[in-house]
Symmetry: C2
């Protein structure tokens, strides 16, 4: 007889976590890295399991799940696929709620007996009343519960839930999005989707009070109708950002080898995503950009009018082309506005159109004055200040990350934002060498801490904002 | 009566350079930075000019051009536009060959009297038998002559000539392309193109024996017919890579304010570029990628078949999608080739299709063995190895930049390249924090020094290679 299966909500705050398949040496083993991450996060009850050892990373190591004295409700597994069924018997005996398999080499390998093994695993989970996450994934990351699968991910909770069929993307979104200010309620990597799948996760995060924005990386959908229902429901309640992997013939083939996904027709998927009012992106970088826009370009712009401010004729021409190609508009500045700008910007080397380009637009005073003027223009709905960490920064290394530059500029941008009620965006372009990167990272950190949306190029800012504005206007 | 005007070739190896408008304090003045750059480059005869000072950056400073005792054949100018005509009289008296104006605020300002001032300047240049570069530009960079306009640019000469209407782009291509291995014969930023223009530069580099590849950033063309003739001639002799700025209505408006350019119809320009067999790109980043491909992905691939190798299911799905979207093919691997790979790659977590993805593909042995096997496959025309500096690298920081990793991998890639006669490419993805960036930069440097084309994402590799293969097949 089957026991009642726990809901996903019940999996997000385990009391004790067992990690099966650890070794004290190999730091590159997923299981050992998992223990390390849980330890660094301060998770209270971690139980390494491996009959070969008595201690791993300073923690007592147990010969089996059954030998653990305390409560274990979540199990993290990195052992050969062949040993999976025996382990699941132990899980049932111990009364766990969820089992996450790092282990790969199941249905995605294309071998029939491995697909059958998966089915037998699911039967055991149903009979034992516990859930399986994966196999072939990196599992759960719940900052509030200090439940974590990887080191280097920000532990502060936030409003974004991420559903990822790929383990790598599940790690990379928080890692690369972290310095841009993105924080997460839950990240779930679900790999082969044997039990927990994209539709159930969508349903769950759609209802989750801790989640305000849902992001998803999906290779294949298990049940089209269920997914459609879940997506409609979720997109009606919250912004949903979707990156679909496997949109080409080669991509579909690879997705099948990666997570045994049978990807659907791209045209159908695209049409559904549009109809359901989701935002589609083409990679993790674009997903980060759109999440940054949704989260920090607030209130979201009420139209497509953008003002671009920064030094450099080349970047200004590029900005114009990219904004317009993306679907944004650069409204002309009236003679009155231009006259105001001429009061503090020099004639030589300046462009008083939109973009506004002037050699002194790297000075706090000129930036502040310009932003204040443009914030008042009616058909401008958002303002972008751009700064390349080359070549200007090497004239005075460290200048842009200094308080003398950052404090007055941030104050002026905060004031522009508050007075105008329009989002103020930053396009900060990284440097090609270490000194410039150091300055870039410090400057980015300061703007992110002040609550601004920071993009790493004018093109990325243009594309993300165009997507979010289009989504918001539907 | 007009004197004979010097050819461009005569401008590239000046004996003495005067820099007019320096100041000892303001390091952010273009002129002072120019002196600093020339000094650092070891240019032998630099003459700062400013009546207010007797010494600048440790060099004697002269009150006027005429007061300089030695030969001056090139003059770098950063003084107000109003003083330009008087200065040009001095230039004529001193018998210089070329005058480069950093100074902006001429015709691009939109003021009629400034456009007339430009005309008067050109008359003086014709009468005096010298050339004007700009105004409103950063001028000449000729590594062989140690003639340089900026610090931080690689001084080693190379085979690429860059013609840039934007000063910022003229500096950024060598600065950002330097770490990727790009080296230059000449870089000329020509701004408002009052005298020296895009057509004359194209003609010059088309004949230049030191130039093998021509890159150009163009906002507007002064004489359509002349440009067409020059482009046809150049593209018949050498690869020509063109980035056209101002391809949208907003971009055209900004380009006019930037360099007084009247940009032509985009459709016409696009058609001409295709007809003339040039390679078009959309920004400086893509230009760097295409130049890296032309320069180091040699011999250029004889077809569109690509093999992708690296760890990670997510990146492998992305690689498949990006390669196919760009127009490249990922040929299926035969059962025999797959069987060969299975001898050293594990079943669990691997994809034996193309891309080849296996957890141990970050080990030198597995990379080497896989590349050797794939190098022999007939319909594969190029091989890509990809490596993200997250999350793998933080399992063992510094590992990928260590000789223990780099030496065997580089040896194997060099061997694969030599045995197969096919280009081997690297897609190395930068990290979002300083430690990872340090490792990324060191690893990139090692591959670049070994002569490999390095791209900073799978997408960039796909797009650049697709462009170059298409161009090569015409």
């Amino acid at each position: 007889m089957e026991k009642k299966k726990p809901s996903l909500e019940e999996l997000f705050s385990p009391e004790g976590v067992a990690v099966v398949g650890v070794s004290p040496s190999g730091k590159s083993s997923f299981a050992t890295l998992g223990v390390l991450a849980l330890k660094e996060a301060g998770f209270p009850a971690i139980y390494p399991v491996n009959p070969k050892y008595t201690e791993v990373l300073g923690l007592p190591c147990y010969p089996s799940l059954r030998a653990i004295p305390g409560v274990v409700d979540h199990v993290v597994v990195s052992i050969p696929a062949e040993s999976a069924l025996a382990l699941l018997d132990d899980c049932a005996a111990k009364g766990v709620r969820s089992v996450h398999f790092f282990t790969a080499g199941f249905s995605e390998s294309g071998h029939t007996e491995r697909a059958e093994l998966e089915k037998a695993m699911l039967d055991k989970a149903r009979a034992g009343g516990f859930r399986i996450i994966g196999p072939n994934c990196v599992g759960l990351f719940v900052p509030r519960s200090r439940l974590i699968n990887d080191v280097g991910i920000p532990l502060e909770p936030g409003p974004i839930a991420f559903i990822s069929q790929s383990g790598g993307h599940a790690q990379n979104l928080p890692l690369y999005g972290g310095p841009r200010g993105l924080r997460f309620s839950k990240v779930v990597s679900y790999g082969n989707a044997l039990d927990v799948d994209e539709s159930e996760l969508l349903d769950c995060f759609s209802r989750d009070p801790e989640t305000e924005i849902i992001a998803a990386y999906i290779e294949g959908v298990k049940d089209g109708k269920r997914f459609l229902r879940a997506l409609r429901e979720a997109a009606a309640r919250k912004p949903v950002v979707i990156y679909k992997g496997g949109t080409t013939e080669a991509g579909r083939r690879t997705a099948h080898g990666h997570t045994a996904s049978l990807t659907s027709s791209v045209a159908v998927f695209d049409a559904l995503c549009r109809q359901m009012k989701t935002i589609q992106v083409d990679d993790i970088e674009e997903m980060i950009d759109v999440l940054v826009a949704l989260r920090f370009a607030v209130p979201l712009p009420q139209g497509t009018g953008v003002a671009v401010v920064g030094a450099g004729g080349g970047p200004s021409v590029l900005a114009s082309d990219e904004m317009e190609k993306a679907g944004l508009r650069l409204p002309h500045l009236s003679p009155e506005v231009q006259a105001e700008l001429r009061q503090f910007l020099p004639l030589a080397g300046s462009i008083f159109g939109n973009p506004v380009d002037a050699p002194n637009l790297a000075s706090p005073e000129a930036i502040s004055a310009t932003m204040r003027v443009l914030g008042k223009v009616a058909d401008i709905h958002m303002l972008v200040y751009h700064l390349g960490f080359h070549p200007i920064s090497r004239w005075a290394p460290g200048r842009f990350s200094s308080a003398a530059f950052l404090k007055p500029v941030i104050d002026a941008l905060v004031e522009t934002h508050q007075m105008s009620g329009k989002p103020v965006l930053l396009a900060l372009c990284p440097a090609p060498e270490l000194g410039g990167m150091k300055e870039f990272l410090a400057t980015q950190e300061a703007f992110v801490e002040a609550g601004f949306p920071v993009f790493n190029s004018l093109r990325q800012a243009a594309r993300a904002m165009a997507r979010v504005v289009a989504w918001n206007q539907v």
